[in-house]
């Protein structure tokens, strides 16, 4: 048991060592660094942002973000720098433009289609319920109910 704990401990240490530590002159800068690295996608392991990825490219991109922040660049300038080189793909929140219109509208469209078909199914059920009982049947129900209340 002790050995396992020791192994886990050593493993944790090595994992921590992989993410480099940057010193920031202000906490505000550090927050911006965190926000930006979480927004940017790593192109090597495409389902990770660069804050989480251990890929070499992610390390380089983090370094670039750090350097740009330190030289006083705005968030927009940094995002623009990345998209100029890696395209919109580098952004986890793709911009709204002609090429991404399908991406943005499909969920709304799917929801609309779903809601419409749900409503039409409900409608059909209601009308079916009315049609199922003919006039004769309704009369018979009345008769039966009447009998019951009479017996009381």
């Amino acid at each position: 048991m002790k050995k396992i704990v020791l192994c886990l401990f050593l493993f944790m240490q090595s994992v921590h060592a992989e993410i480099e530590v940057y010193q920031f002159t202000s906490p505000e800068l550090e927050l911006r660094y965190q926000a930006l690295t979480e927004e940017l996608r790593c192109l090597v392991c495409q389902n990770q942002n660069i804050a989480d990825s251990h890929a070499e490219l992610a390390q380089d991109l983090r370094r670039k973000v750090y350097e740009m922040l330190n030289s006083g660049k705005s968030n927009k300038e940094i995002i623009d720098y990345m998209t100029e080189r890696y395209g919109d793909f580098v952004l986890y929140r793709p911009p709204f433009n002609a090429r991404t219109i399908i991406l943005w509208f499909t969920p709304v469209l799917a929801l609309l289609i779903g809601a419409l078909s749900f409503m039409s199914i409900l409608n059909r059920r209601e009308t079916n319920a009315d049609e199922r009982l003919s006039q004769n049947e309704l009369a018979r129900i009345k008769e039966l109910l009447h009998l019951k209340s009479n017996k009381k």
Partner: protein
């Protein structure tokens, strides 16, 4: 009544078509926004003579290829033989950007396997590669006489890509003024 069966079937078919297209797409083939933009500038030491430098501006007036490679990269090894064969044509200006590599290991690699490059440069910290939007070696760029990036091949080249895409493009760009 029949619509009830046809509609879901159509929805299913549309989905099949989209998923089918999705299967054929390579998620690693991200289109480069650099295409038809000026090649990003850099000044880097040459691999064999670090005191000498190279920058893309040196190639102005020539159609040239920038091949990004590294000795640690497995698929670079795979494309190397085709690149060497292709670069035997002396009218092809092939520049090698050695990306995030040990210069000694890179020189050894070229010595052992052959050197197809007219010029080799080393980008040890990978910052020039970052400027070019490199995210996975090997990558090959085609740059025209004006210094505009015209094509990017992500991943290893093979004879088909070289003969059907790269070569015709170089010929076409050579005809442009």
């Amino acid at each position: 009544m029949r619509l009830r069966f046809i509609l879901p079937l159509m929805a299913f078919l549309v989905m099949v078509v989209f998923l089918g297209i999705g299967l054929k797409l390579d998620p690693h083939d991200v289109p480069s926004p650099l295409i038809n933009k000026p090649a990003p500038a850099f000044t880097l030491p040459q691999l064999h003579q670090p005191q000498k430098t190279f920058s893309p501006a040196d190639m102005k007036g020539k159609v040239w290829l920038l091949n990004v490679w590294a000795s640690w990269c497995v698929s670079c090894r795979q494309e190397h033989v085709y690149l060497t064969e292709f670069a035997r044509d002396s009218s092809i200006h092939l520049v090698g950007l050695n990306y995030k590599d040990e210069p000694a290991a890179a020189m050894q690699w070229l010595e052992r396997l052959g050197n197809p490059y007219k010029i080799s440069i080393s980008d040890i910290d990978g910052m020039a590669g970052l400027d070019w939007g490199v995210y996975g070696v090997p990558e090959t760029f085609v740059i025209d006489k004006q210094g505009i990036v015209r094509h990017k091949q992500t991943g290893p080249v093979d004879p088909i890509i070289l003969q059907t895409i790269i070569k015709p493009l170089i010929e076409q760009l050579n005809r442009e003024s």
